[in-house]
Amino acid sequence: MDMATGEFTPATGTTPLAIEARGLIKRFDGTTAVDGVDISVPQGAIYGVLGPNGAGKTTTLRMLLGIIEPDAGYRRVLGAENPQDVARRIGYLPEERGLYPTMKAYEAIAFMGALRGVPLAEGRRRGKELLEEHGLAHAIDRQIRQLSKGMAQTVQLLGTLVHDPALVVFDEPFSGLDAINQGKLELLIRGLADKGTTVIFSTHVIAHAERLCEQIAIIAGGKVPYAGSVEEARDRIPAQVRLETRNPDGAWRAALPEGTRRVGQFWYFPLPESGVEPLLKALIEGDAGILSLSIERAGLHDAFVAIAGEAAARAMVTQAAGEAT
């Protein structure tokens, strides 16, 4: 551990870790909600925790924040084994959004800052500044109950950031936001990471993680079958070749590898280990009449399906579709 900064450095790498958790277990009433979760979040990264509802995402985040204690396992957050010891350096936006309805917008931000050690007067000043910066100057003196849901969510988000945290934890931050506000939130998260803030968020929408994250953990059934970079996850699935030919049949077909499937006029098969050149040669010699040939790298969704299983992926898609409607 770097004693000056309090950041934890893993033995095998040089990147300091903002969060390290090993073997976290949590049971409720005999049901195991989280079953041996391992997570390593590099400092300054945007880290996604992916999984369907009930997978154990929220419980994992709550354990990382010290809201609940794990039954077993080890965690270190910003260098502290007890996350509450570094609570003033952490910002947290829970899935269930909550503000005092009769509080004014800037007071709500100041109160959330006060919980993290920002003096009330300074919190009020910063609250007003943040609201102005985010186009909510007209809402500064309005009570929370007078704001639209989106505006109230923005106020809470700003309250999460008012104390300039080193680590921000968002639980399903995109939930309930329209497309425009989702885009704004993505920009804000990128901005935080650019400043060196570590961001960890849970989501059941793979697209957000794919656009934002360098690192992810996939949670399914309380376990983490994969934790690592997005690129590595995608590389776990061989690239797919998509071939379109003028001649539907012929000797060239013998050159197609095992597992090839046909969808319409296209043929799909994994990229052979020997590369595409020998295949091209065989297709040309077999008079396939190549109209198009492309190599498509697997997306995060495909990787998720391969890692977490079809059922978990279906649950994610159903949940996201349900929210969209």
Partner: protein, 420 residues
């Protein structure tokens, strides 16, 4: 390490942040006016509790007539009293031998009555032929004829003429003082009970509202749950101080305008200034004890309906405790009073009554130390339960329709949140 970079707020500072928010929110909230009107309710409760009050009065406010004469005259007076009581039925006050005097010995009845204490309301001196009744003006008016009749029977059982009774009035008597002190004790107990119940209910509503607003998770992530517990508890204590100042000022203004002063009432055993100090101390202790229980109960509930279901047993139990403490007034120095003083939840009520009826201060020192120890135990246990359970019963828990029985059963397990 600077204030800005230190890892987390101290327990006290975090509790202060929570308390400050709650205090200002309640103080400037719309419902605060109803809180200030709350003391009107004791009037209703006093009417309901009239039965117990009457029992207490009849059991305790005994007014005796003392007899201080030569020995044979005392015996004659006591025998005559029995005879008169037999003929008249009820309504003849008890008569006791206060002093059996030697011939020529004098007796200062006024001094005995004004020294207070005991149940003496009047003293008859002189002889059966020429009795002297010493009592307060009211008692003199009521008992002059009756004492004359008893004295007449004592002097000559067959007489039909009764001696003239000389009288001398005193400002107060032991019986008047005892009766007044018991009224003060009862009033203090009722006021204490109403204030504590009102505030404990408010702290409970406040917590449930917070859980409904989903704010509790934000608090739990930022500060220790013990700080949330303490902050809420002490915010309401602060609110109660504001309320008491307003009520006391208003009451004082009304009484002053009506020309009424405290000297019109029986002086509490410990005196008015110390009585007020002790009342405030016992109020704080009683509120902290019951508030801890209510906050812990609130940590189990998700909705107002669940709060009502869960808090009802606690409320009913507290009413029983209150009646128990009220009955202790009838058994001063007996096991009921000592039990009420020892049982933590009834102790503040019993001791307020004792402050009104007894002069000794040292029992209050002991009682406050005893209650403070229990406050520490209750707060610690309440905060522990609160910490373990408050995140247990979130919205997902509600969707899972956990039964209250199961929730209560889970109090003794060590898990603390819903799966997410």
């Amino acid at each position: 390490m600077s204030e800005q970079t230190r890892g987390r707020l101290s327990l006290l500072r975090a509790a202060f942040v929570i308390a400050r928010r709650d205090f200002t929110a309640i103080l400037f909230g719309r419902t605060f006016i109803f809180f200030l009107l709350g003391p009107l309710f004791p009037v209703v409760v006093m009417a309901l509790a009239g039965g117990v009050g009457a029992q207490v009065q009849s059991g305790v406010a005994v007014a005796d007539i003392g007899v201080a004469m030569e020995a044979q005259d005392v015996d004659a007076m006591l025998a005559a009293r029995e005879e008169v009581a037999e003929q008249l039925g009820g309504g003849v006050p008890p008569m006791v031998a206060t002093a059996r005097l030697e011939p020529g010995e004098s007796f200062d009845a006024r001094a005995v009555l004004e020294s207070g204490g005991g149940s003496l309301a009047a003293v008859v001196t002189g002889t059966p032929e020429a009795p002297v009744l010493t009592a307060t003006e009211g008692r003199v008016r009521n008992w002059q004829g009756l004492v004359g009749m008893i004295a007449g029977f004592a002097a000559d059982p067959g007489t039909r003429s009764y001696p003239a009774v000389s009288t001398q009035a005193v400002v107060t008597s032991g019986a008047a003082e005892t009766s007044g002190r018991i009224k003060t004790a009862q009033g203090g107990q009722i006021l204490l009970f109403m204030l504590i119940m009102l505030l404990a209910s408010m702290v409970l509503s406040n917590l449930v509202e917070e859980k409904g607003n989903k704010i509790i998770e934000i608090l739990a992530a930022a500060v220790p749950m013990d700080a949330v517990f303490l902050g809420k508890l002490f915010a309401m204590l602060g609110i109660s101080v504001v309320g008491i100042v307003v009520w006391a000022s208003t009451g004082f203004a009304i009484l002053t305008a009506g020309g009424v002063t405290l000297s019109d009432y029986a002086n509490p055993g410990v005196g008015w200034p110390m009585f007020f100090v002790l009342f405030a101390a016992y109020f704080a202790m009683g509120y902290l004890l019951l508030g801890s229980i209510f906050l812990a109960v609130g940590s189990l509930a998700n909705t107002v309906r669940e709060v009502q279901t869960l808090s009802m047993p606690a409320t009913m139990a507290q009413i029983l405790v209150f009646f128990f403490a009220s009955l202790a007034v009838t058994d001063q120095g007996g096991w009921v009073e000592y039990s009420a003083m020892a049982f933590p939840l009834s102790s503040p009520f019993a001791m307020v009554a004792r402050a009104a009826t007894d002069e000794a201060l040292w029992p209050h020192v002991l009682a406050l130390l005893w209650q403070a120890a229990w406050v520490a135990v209750f707060i610690r246990a309440g905060a522990s339960l609160f910490r373990r359970r408050v995140m247990k019963s979130g919205p997902q828990g509600a969707r899972k329709s956990r039964s209250l029985v199961k929730a209560i059963g889970g109090l003794f397990r060590n898990d603390s949140a819903t799966a997410g």
